[in-house]
């Protein structure tokens, strides 16, 4: 491979210049193409990441809300309606696990550094709700409430229903608010990323634009050099030779270059000198 590349540039003079010139243009073209492909790939990758992040956060929030709803339903059936069958106990346990899992997933999706305190608060509220449910399942509701409201005159009227209203419902509302906040915040976290993407998308065109600009200048230079260093001298030699052949005007073309054009001029000169002898 290397030998082939070396052979490509082994020739000298005009041929080498032409090869180098066109190789430069091809290189710039390939470079511009490759850069644009890479940049497009990068933009596409960034866009995909943003979309995936958005979908995932909405999905997690949806699952969390569903688990919360199941949690609430099970508690209502047990604490308010009074149906403490195994079915609801299992549903409650399932929703507790589901809440924990989705909360963990939410933490993974939205790193704590990006939104101060949101993840901690969410985990705290989930834990609070699950602790209440756990207390209920373990039958510690009465003890706890009595202990907390020992001076309350209504302590004797305590029932699971009032526990639901006073304790559970408050925690439930807090958590649902927190999930709503998570939903909105997770979307607002993506906003600067989208802005950055729109910014980099514009920037990604810059290298391609610069490559094309340089290529345009190179092509213009190539045109100028071809015209100035090759086409014009050949035309001058041709005209001068024509004048010599037609009118015997002395062939006198002064071209100061050491490449094939200069050699051509010298050889024509030699030929004329020999033919005159």
């Amino acid at each position: 491979m290397w030998k082939r590349i070396k052979a490509l540039f082994a020739v000298k003079g005009i041929e080498r210049r032409m090869r180098v010139a066109f190789t430069s243009i091809v290189l710039l073209l390939v470079f511009a193409g490759a850069t644009s492909l890479l940049e497009l790939e990068r933009v596409s990758h960034d866009t995909e990441q943003i979309l995936v992040a958005s979908e995932q956060s909405v999905d997690v929030a949806g699952h969390m809300l569903a688990a919360l709803s199941d949690h609430n339903d099970a508690i209502i059936y047990m604490a308010v309606v009074g149906d403490t069958s195994v079915r609801y106990r299992e549903a409650l346990r399932g929703s507790m696990l589901q809440l924990d899992a989705t909360c963990e997933r939410a933490n993974e999706l939205m790193p704590a550094v990006e939104h101060d305190g949101l993840n901690d608060t969410l985990a705290m509220y989930v834990e609070r709700l699950n602790t209440l449910a756990e207390e209920y399942l373990e039958g510690r509701v009465y003890e706890n409430v009595i202990r907390r409201r020992v001076s309350d005159s209504l302590a004797t009227n305590l029932s699971t229903r009032s526990w639901y209203v006073d304790e559970y419902k408050v925690a439930y509302i807090d958590l649902s608010r927190q999930i709503s906040r998570y939903m909105t915040d997770s979307q607002s976290v993506l906003s600067p990323k989208v802005n950055h993407l729109s910014h980099t998308a514009r920037r990604s065109v810059t290298p391609v634009f610069i490559s094309l600009l340089v290529m345009f200048i190179v092509v213009m230079m190539l045109y100028y050099f071809l015209k100035k260093l090759y086409v014009k001298p050949i035309l001058r030699i041709n005209r001068s030779l024509g004048d010599y052949l037609s009118y015997k005007v002395p062939f006198d073309e002064s071209i100061a270059c050491g490449d094939e054009i200069g050699q051509l001029r010298d050889r024509i000169d030699t030929l004329i000198t020999k033919s005159n002898k």
Partner: protein, 481 residues
Amino acid sequence: MRVHVVIRYIGMVLVFLAAFMLASAGVSLLNNHDSALYPLLLSSFVTAILGLFPLIFVERVEEIKTKEGYAIVVGSWLVACVVGMFPYLIWGGEFSLVNAWFESVSGFTTTGASILNDIEFLPRGLLFWRSATTWIGGIGVVMFALVILPSMGRSRQMLYNVELSTIAKDNFHYRSREIMRILIFVYLGLTLATTVLLKLSGMCWFDAATHAMSACGTSGFSTKNASVAFFDNPTIELVMMGAMTLSGIHFGVLYATMTGRRNNIFRSEIVRVYVGMMVIASLIIAANLFSDGLYPTFVESLRHASFQVVSVTTTSGFATADTNLWPSLAIILLIFCSVVCGCAGSTSGGVKVDRLVIAAKVIRNRVKLQQHPTAVITTRTDGTVQGDNVLNLVLTFVVAYILLVLMGTIVYAMFGCDIMTSFTASIACIGNVGPGFGEVGSLDNYSELPTILKLNSTLLMLVGRLEIFGFIQLFFLRSWR
């Protein structure tokens, strides 16, 4: 004019710039592949192709003509400014097209003005490139082209005549080839010495190298938002002051001093005026600051006053204090220093002390001639009699400079700048000083200026760097036939 010859020489400058971009990419690589690596590599590649192309086609020439020399100098500067903005543009951040152009021109003309609000946010590779542009600009893009130029002899001298002012050329008493060696020796030596001293004073190697490049190029680009004030270190300030002062002296005189020749800095009248001017200005400003109660002690006042005076006189533009808060007398003296600036044959811009001395002597001689109309009075600088041609050139330059400052001021004012900002920004850009007063103060930047004024500033920088006439001549090349 042989355009292809001009293009060939400009191509050499581009290859040199590509090498510096690659070096900056190396810095980027050393700093955990920071975000400047990709922009610098891309820029290096396209710049190298652009520069190598004419080298392949155009054969070397032994001799270049005067107008070709001018075209090469001005062309090299303009093309360097254009390719110099590639890394900024590709990197992005605060660099829009106009901002990248401004930063690039400011670097290559060694002005040191910036549009960046948060310099420290820039990756190290890009910061190094930013300082490198000022370093390259300091010695002159053309100078580098000539160093690597295989063809020797007249072509070098021809280009160099354009690069330095007429007065600076007269001060050189060496052959053209020797001039190149002197400049490289002095410039490289000064930069290396400053780097080592700054490192010893407490900077890290990166900051030391970038600040040394900026100080020796008299540009004032810093890697910190608060410039040299960030370090709050008197030793660093002292080293910087030394480097800036030396960079503001004719390099030939510096070389003569180092090699023990006769025309050294201790004998030079110009250097005496240059140093004397800075000492007097520093003392007056320090007294003014101390009497106004801006600093608790006279020593503290002198520390800040002397640094700002040296920074402005050498057209560097580094800052250790917000000079906008200084009293009127201090401001006026700093403006005066930023008009006069350093010596010819150095990397500083402005009117230059040499011209000030000659202009003052011409005025003195005029007064003498009025008293003694038949007297024959010659004007000498450093013992050399200056001919009428030189005197005319000096006076023409001073008048052109003043006119340009006024025109620049009008343009700034037209687009809503206050008189202080307009006047000082105009002086700071033409003199390649960098900071002025008002909105473009020592700890401020040019980011708030409208686009048209940023472009106006870059034009003034280029005109000032190319000694006004060097730039204007470009538009009259056809008439030289």
